[in-house]
């Protein structure tokens, strides 16, 4: 048990095929950050509370720290880098800048990945519903108000389009 046990995984990350041998105990976000250099997904609490490590796996937003890289075998993973490149959330990102919806920016990638899931639903949401949807993502600077503003503005624009 002293040797590090590894496992071979094959997955898609931001549209690119990846094959790697990973330690079985490595969580997904460490794999993304350390092995693939995708440091946009942040590590905060590493026990599923803060949401800084949010990534999209097979279309669903998940905690990157609460899933083993080994479990991502065969999965399609999209990180904040992928969402940025595809332009899927360009309007949301612009809105975040316009509304100054961050200070230190540590929570921002996670916020964007979670908010992207809300936007994907394509349904109107009240400010209270937006807050509930984002309740699993902590921000320790902004007081959330500006973040809710930015998400609300983007949602309203998309719906009225």
């Amino acid at each position: 048990m002293n040797l590090e046990e590894t496992i071979q995984i094959n997955l898609t990350v931001n549209g690119e095929r990846v094959s790697r041998a990973v330690p079985v105990r490595q969580h997904l976000v460490d794999f993304l950050r350390i092995d693939l250099g995708l440091t946009g997904s942040h590590i905060g609490c590493e026990h599923g509370i803060c949401g800084a490590c949010s990534v999209r796996v097979d279309g669903a937003v998940v905690r990157g720290c609460l899933m083993l890289a080994a479990q991502a075998d065969g999965a399609e993973v999209v990180t904040i880098e992928g969402l940025t490149e595809s332009g899927e959330i360009a309007d949301l990102q612009t809105s975040f800048v316009e509304r100054n919806a961050f200070q230190c920016g540590y929570c921002t990638p996670g916020m964007l990945v979670t908010a992207a899931a809300l936007l994907q639903q394509g349904k109107p949401a009240t400010r209270e519903e937006i807050r509930i949807f984002l309740s699993g993502n902590f921000c320790r600077c902004s007081g959330y108000h500006a973040i809710v503003d930015a998400v609300e503005a983007t949602l309203n624009k998309r719906i009225s389009r």
Partner: protein, 289 residues
């Protein structure tokens, strides 16, 4: 923090899991959605020798309705329960509780069976299955057995499941037409661990409570079916006086934990607040039937 070293096995069949559980018992941990196990691994509160990943066992996934029972496979994710038309139609209590289960990212991974198997004291689903009189289906190499919810939740993270058993599915009788249900909880923020909570399933005719199951969670070591409170309301109208009698009886049913979320006295108070609100809501719903 990072998880400790363990031997990882990606299970291919239920039979394989049962064999490995028979071999390793408590030294093995079953990894389902991982939304509670992964934090305890990362914090090294749990150091299993073997991690049995059951996520590819399709036999354990899905929701169906048969002969008056809703069957929820242990590996069904919270999001699937939340979006299920079967749950919305036959188990409104669970439909009402599900948005309180953590946050969207956790519901996307976390499983119904994982919640029942772990029996976290602040978890919503254990309280719901107890209120609805569900049956847990367990398998081991020794065979298959069923345990009713009343006998299943034993204590803090303690259930009737033996170390070599795997929770396969939960069978929940559909809510009958003349019954109403109410789910409420109090937490510091939406999705946080419940400090106090109630799952109520009752038959109320002309404001008189004919039958009721009141289950309390969050404050207790396990979900508690409040027998004395139920006795205090059965056959009575939901008047202010009978609500107070229920609240008084709760002192004998509950034994709230003393922790950073509050003192036992505070939690008993909060459970009483929820009791009054839930009974009012139940009467309101019964009137609309």
């Amino acid at each position: 923090m990072k998880a400790p070293k363990f031997h990882y096995i990606r299970a291919e069949s239920v039979e394989q899991v049962l064999r490995l559980l028979a071999e390793h018992g408590d030294d093995a941990r079953v990894l389902a959605g991982g939304q509670s196990l992964m934090p305890t691994l990362n914090m090294r509160l749990s150091q299993p020798k073997v991690l049995l990943d059951i996520n590819r066992l399709d036999r354990l996934k899905g929701i169906s309705f048969q002969n008056g029972n809703v069957k929820i496979g242990a590996l069904t994710r919270h999001v699937q329960v939340m979006e299920s038309p079967i749950i919305a139609k036959h188990l409104p209590l669970i439909a009402e509780a599900m948005p309180h289960v953590a946050h969207v990212a956790v519901r996307n991974r976390g499983t119904f069976g994982g919640s029942i198997a772990l029996a976290d004291p602040s978890a919503e689903m254990p309280a719901c299955v107890l209120a609805l009189g569900a049956t847990m289906v367990l398998e081991s190499v020794r065979g298959r057995r069923t345990v009713i919810a009343d006998d299943y939740f034993k204590g803090l993270y303690e259930t009737a499941r033996e170390p070599d058993e795997l929770l396969i599915e939960v069978l929940i009788p559909e809510e009958k037409k003349n019954y109403v249900s109410v789910f409420m909880e109090l937490s510091r923020r939406h999705g946080d661990f419940a400090i106090a909570g109630i799952a109520c399933h009752a038959s109320i005719k002309k404001d008189v409570v004919a039958d009721a199951r009141l289950v309390y969670f969050g404050s207790e070591m396990r979900p508690v079916l409040a027998q004395r409170a139920i006795a205090a309301i059965k056959g009575k109208s939901c008047s202010d006086a009978s609500k107070e009698a229920v609240c008084a009886a709760l002192a004998d049913d509950l034994d709230p934990m003393d922790n950073t979320f509050g003192s036992p006295a505070t939690k008993l108070h909060l459970q009483r607040v929820l009791t009054r609100r839930a009974l009012d809501k139940a009467v309101e719903r019964a009137r609309m039937q």
